[in-house]
């Protein structure tokens, strides 16, 4: 039987989301095909990698994480600039770890001002990520929205317990929201419905289905995302047609496979950088293959590997 190429035509397509302002704005999503299946339908926007900067770093971070940023690691703005100028970052994600009440517990005002300074200083779109503390994020992120009105930031994570305040602030002050749900297709959909019921249009919402690194639940994220993508495309489920993002840098770099030295675990091998870079790059690639539109990553070498794959697969 001779070969003839088979294509999949879907009735639905993923929505888009645009963040950042002016000619720096970036649009993600909009695909009418499963990841990289350009032979099936249009993939108008390449997936994007946003490179992380932290406003405070964990002293336990392995050298492979710290080394590329050694000179700027205590200055998030300089770090962001280095990511852009030296490592070619297309977007920046500011991780507001310092606002965590279990850590430095920095104030919402501090965070809002830092975000303003960051917007001034950088030439690419900005993602702002809270510490993950539900109550504090509600306070900090909504303040950031207010102080930086109209800057069309991407702000998150909004979860079931705090989405009202965060999404309302995004709506009121002209930003986009990250809708985070606990590795479950129905919960992801439910969050989109809840947030859009507040009045935020679907093209201002991006889903974060909870991201597991290799060895730490990557397969759950992977399958949830494939199911979301199929619901959006094949079933034309409008409430599933928000693009997807994955906050994976922090998940990857805390894996023991990345952190343990050869002395501690001889089976893992001496080259910690290689291990760590590939742990992050392969996790990121898996997320892309499952339907991610926006990856949040840390190591420049890992980012480059992933971006090369994106460029070549979509060439």
């Amino acid at each position: 039987m001779a070969f003839s190429a088979l294509t999949e035509k879907y009735s639905g397509k993923m929505g888009t989301l645009t963040f950042g302002s002016g000619d720096q704005a970036i649009t993600v999503g909009g695909q009418a095909a499963m990841p990289f299946c350009t032979f099936d339908g249009e993939i108008p926007n390449k997936p994007i990698v946003a490179m992380e900067v932290y406003d405070v770093v964990d002293p336990e971070w392995p050298a492979a994480v710290v080394d590329p940023f050694k000179d700027v690691i205590n200055d998030p703005i300089a770090w962001a600039k280095k990511n852009i100028d030296e490592y070619g970052a297309k977007a920046i994600c500011l991780q507001l770890a310092s606002t965590d009440p279990n850590g430095e517990n920095k104030s919402a005002d501090y965070a809002a001002e830092l975000v303003s300074k960051m917007i001034e200083a950088i030439s690419v779109p900005l993602v702002v990520w809270g510490s993950g503390n539900v109550e504090k994020d509600a306070e900090v992120l909504s303040k950031i929205c207010e102080v930086n009105e109209g800057k069309n930031l991407l702000i998150g994570p909004a979860v079931e317990e705090n989405y009202k305040k965060i999404a309302a602030a995004c709506l009121g002050y002209g930003h986009n929201v990250v809708s985070q749900s606990p590795i479950d297709v129905n919960m992801a959909k439910q969050m989109n419905i809840l947030i859009s019921n507040l009045g935020l249009p679907m093209d201002k919402i991006i889903m974060e289905p909870s991201t597991g690194a290799l060895g730490y639940g990557v397969e759950y994220s992977y399958s949830v995302m494939e199911r979301i993508s199929l619901a959006a495309l094949a079933q034309n489920d409008e409430k599933m047609q928000c693009p997807i993002t994955n906050d994976l840098g922090k998940e990857c770099w805390k894996a023991r496979e990345v952190k343990l030295t050869e002395e501690e675990e001889p089976a893992f091998g001496p080259d910690l950088e290689k291990r760590g870079v590939l742990w992050e790059a392969i996790t990121g690639f898996d997320m892309l293959l499952a339907g991610s539109n926006l990856l949040i990553m840390r190591n420049p070498k890992a980012v480059k590997l992933v971006e090369e794959c994106i460029d070549e697969l979509l060439a």
């Binding site: 290799l214 639940g217 397969e219 091998g269």
Partner: protein, 447 residues
């Protein structure tokens, strides 16, 4: 896969004699289609119908076994595109390349890595599977010597690769009876290579510049008596590799194209010289339908993420990975170290263990068998509850290892603390831990 009930019905005698146990031939046909009956039950079915039915029930992608004995590796037989539909069955085989242009030391080092780089995880040994031995010298004698050396140096299956037929023949004969995979049969030499494979008990890679080209001659190899075929449709870059693996699986599963119903091989070693890039290509093969991936080396730092990725992607989504019940020692705990209890869902274990490890606080981690459920699921299923946990804690023998009486439970089941305390009695003090694993280091340090 398979035929519909109506298609099967057309092949049956239609006498409704009931001897099969079904009231009618049609009912029997429906039962067959649903996998609820065996064809043998009908004594009157013709040989021709039997052949048609068994052909139709063969897996749409053939399973191919490479190597012999304990280390034999099966690839293919996949039935779906997405792992949530049904488990991916036979994990991508990872092969290491050696050539007859390498010196002995290099060959030895690579084979040594192939044999010895392995990791233990969830009770499994993660390791690479095959040795690809390639002739680049064009010298059949030299190549044969390398194949012989390889046979003596590893128990893993061999891929014997030579463009020159004389060299391929020499290598194949040296590995006769070892279940090797011969690389490759092409449109020009497929009859000859099929005969060689048949003679030496080998399987064959059908290699062409495109899927079209390969589809044209796999049938000839089958007619030559070799059904165990693997496809190389010529991809030498990431985009065409993705396209080929995707389209070959579609042809097999959707179009039921028997000429393409075979596993695929991705020669990522020929696509880049950069070891990092090669690992990315291998990770693509693992996720998106490559059955065999040939790499330039099996080094620890690249294999750890790739093996774990492969394990994760090929895990049964319906059956969670589990840890053995028992006491796990983290950061070398002593008598005064804290005790934490959680469930044997492997993901829970890995996340909790990683956080404890990161805290550097020596800790005893008690893992309780709740059939691989997470903490909350196990609690709501009545498995991670006080009257089940207390006997486990007592039986575990943890008390003999410590000089205190505190046991820390996950914050998500704070509600059971009173009852758990009652069940354990005044011997123990139940302490409520954190809800999120990420808060464990701060919690442990503050104890």
């Amino acid at each position: 896969m398979g035929l519909t009930g109506i298609q099967i019905f057309k092949l049956l005698p239609k006498t409704n004699c009931k001897e099969c146990g079904s009231p009618t031939c049609l009912a029997f046909a429906m039962a067959l289609a649903g996998g609820k009956a065996e064809l043998d039950k009908c004594p009157y079915v013709s040989d021709e119908a039997k052949a048609t039915l068994s052909e139709a029930s063969a897996p749409p992608i053939r399973g191919v076994v490479i190597g012999t004995g304990d280390k034999a590796k099966k690839v293919g037989e996949e039935l779906v595109f997405y792992r949530h539909e049904k488990t991916f069955l036979n994990p991508t085989a990872i092969a290491c390349l050696v050539t007859d242009a390498m010196d002995d030391a290099e060959v030895d080092a690579k084979i040594d890595n192939l044999n010895n780089v392995q990791f233990e995880r969830v009770g499994l040994t993660l390791e690479a599977d095959l040795l690809a031995v390639r002739c680049v010298s064009g010298d059949a004698g030299k190549f044969e010597a390398l194949v012989k050396k390889a046979l003596g140096a590893t128990e893993k299956g061999l891929i014997i690769m030579a463009d020159d037929f004389a060299a391929l023949e020499a290598g194949a004969k040296a590995a006769s009876g070892k279940g090797a995979l011969l690389y490759a049969a092409t449109a020009d030499n497929c009859d000859q290579v099929a005969a060689l494979a048949k003679e030496t008990g080998a399987s064959v890679v059908a290699k062409g510049a495109s899927i079209e080209e390969v589809a044209d001659f796999t049938g000839k190899i089958v007619s030559g008596g070799v059904k165990d075929i693997v496809i190389d449709a010529g991809a030498r870059d990431i985009k065409s590799m993705f396209y080929n693996d995707n389209q070959i699986r579609r042809a097999a599963l959707k179009a039921k194209n028997r000429d393409l119903g075979f596993p695929t091989i991705d020669l990522v070693c020929d696509m880049t010289d950069d070891p990092y890039k090669e690992a990315m290509l291998a990770s693509l093969a693992i996720a998106k339908y490559g059955a065999i991936v040939v790499m330039s080396d099996i080094d620890k730092e690249r294999m750890l993420p790739l093996f774990v990725q492969r394990l994760n992607i090929y895990t049964d989504p319906q059956r969670p990975m589990v840890m053995d019940e028992g006491i796990y020692e983290i950061n070398k705990p002593g008598p005064d170290s804290p005790v934490i209890i959680t469930t044997n869902f492997a993901l829970t274990y890995f996340i909790v263990a990683a956080e404890i490890e990161a805290s550097r606080v020596p800790t005893w981690l008690l893992i309780m068998d709740v059939e691989g459920m997470s903490v909350l699921t196990a609690w709501s299923a009545g498995k991670f509850v006080a009257d089940a946990m207390a006997p486990f804690v007592v039986k575990s023998g943890i008390r003999d290892k410590i000089n205190h009486n505190k046991i820390i439970i996950p914050g998500y089941v704070a509600q059971i603390s009173g009852e758990f305390q009652e069940e354990l009695g005044s011997d123990w003090e139940v302490v409520i831990g954190t809800r999120e694993a990420s808060d464990i280091p701060a919690f442990l340090k503050a104890l």
